[in-house]
Symmetry: C2
Subunit: 199 residues, 2 copies
DNA sequence: CTGTTTATTGACCGAGAGGTACAAAAGCGT
DNA sequence: ACGCTTTTGTACCTCTCGGTCAATAAACAG
């Protein structure tokens, strides 16, 4: 009944996420978005209203993707601590060649408290991470991989803070091995008091 | 022999630091700087060459100030862990009404790896913090405040990551008490295995 | 094939960013 | 008082940002 769109909206949001991730929100220009999405400026504004409107969509999309990857990683069978290690590695960006940090962390740093959209997105992501970590730790305790008197909630909060901190540390260009060592050490502590494996 | 400047340069850098801290580098306009410093645009550019030139000075100034406050806090007599707690609190911004996060962390998040000036400043600050924490932990072990088998270097790295992470968490507007609890928990763990006090 | 509806393109626009130019002013030595 | 030097204030400039708007194109209903 009318002309159809030449591009998929979700796909465009994904591309926009990449563009915004490469620099800050403020430093990203409409021109870069046009080039990155491969569509005309008119279509851009016709579809997404404003630069900020598109940005808001990328925030939500990023959280969605993180939720997916985190769930997938931690649902793998085997040692819960190993799974936790894998989850942390991917969250921090240890698997990437040149990490750009966590998109949401960058957004929080740029926009701060006043920005409710960013605040909401970060609250969603951070609580998701903490909850997932908590579940995993709980299971580790049950399996005897971690000491039974572990304060699961406290440790989950610590791990969240460490993940956030590490994503920043890794973004500075400091050597990746230092961050790897840091994460390894934390996990080693977790295991250090473990009971004998039941298997 | 010539007309003297009407303002102190260092003082102006301090004011600029406030201005840049209130929003991102990219979002800060020359106009805001002129108003924040209370000088004319001509003087601004005559003295600091460019917006970026001024920004670079604020980065160094911030690191200098952090070094001062950290040294002052941790040199206080008494329990080393208490001193550590105080240092962490001030670094994270728990003492401030509405924390704007760590200026350097914000800069890293905004500019990323490619920016060598920001990378250098962050390396300076982060190593300073880690080293100071390490010294303090070492002393805590000596004093019998922390368990003697503590991996000081590992723990210092962890605390650095947690401080960075907490500065982000606090900036989102999430409740301050959660971050306080997190920090308290970490310090409690440090003490948990302590030997009997020698005094 | 025509009409209706919606998408796309790219020219256009007001505003403000980031910075420059230059005349006037304020010191200082003599 | 008079140069000489450096700072200051303000007008000005260019360029790009962020966005709008006709004109055009593509689909489908009848």
């Amino acid at each position: 009944m009318a002309r159809p769109m030449k591009f998929e909206k979700n796909e465009a949001v994904g591309k926009a996420l990449e563009v915004f991730w490469n620099s800050s929100y403020a430093a990203t220009t409409p021109q870069e978005l046009v080039e990155g999405l491969g569509i005309g400026k008119g279509s851009l504004y016709n579809t997404f209203s404003s630069k900020r409107g598109l940005y808001d969509l990328t925030l939500a999309e990023y959280v969605r993707r993180r939720a997916e990857v985190l769930e997938a990683t931690l649902r793998r069978p085997g040692s819960r601590i190993d799974a936790l290690a894998a989850g942390i590695a991917v969250l921090v960006g240890l698997d990437m060649a040149n990490p750009k940090g966590c998109f949401i962390v960058n957004a929080v740093a740029e926009h701060g408290e006043g920005d409710t959209v960013v605040a909401d997105a970060s609250a969603n992501l951070f609580e998701l991470i903490k909850r997932t970590f908590g579940t995993c730790l709980e299971a580790a305790v049950q399996e005897g991989e971690a000491r039974s008197d572990l304060d699961v909630d406290q440790k989950a909060s610590e791990l969240l803070a460490i993940v956030i901190g590490s994503s920043i540390l890794l973004r500075t260009g400091g050597d990746k091995s230092a961050v790897e060592g840091l994460v390894d050490g934390v996990l080693r502590e977790l295991r250090s008091g473990e009971k004998a494996s039941r298997s």
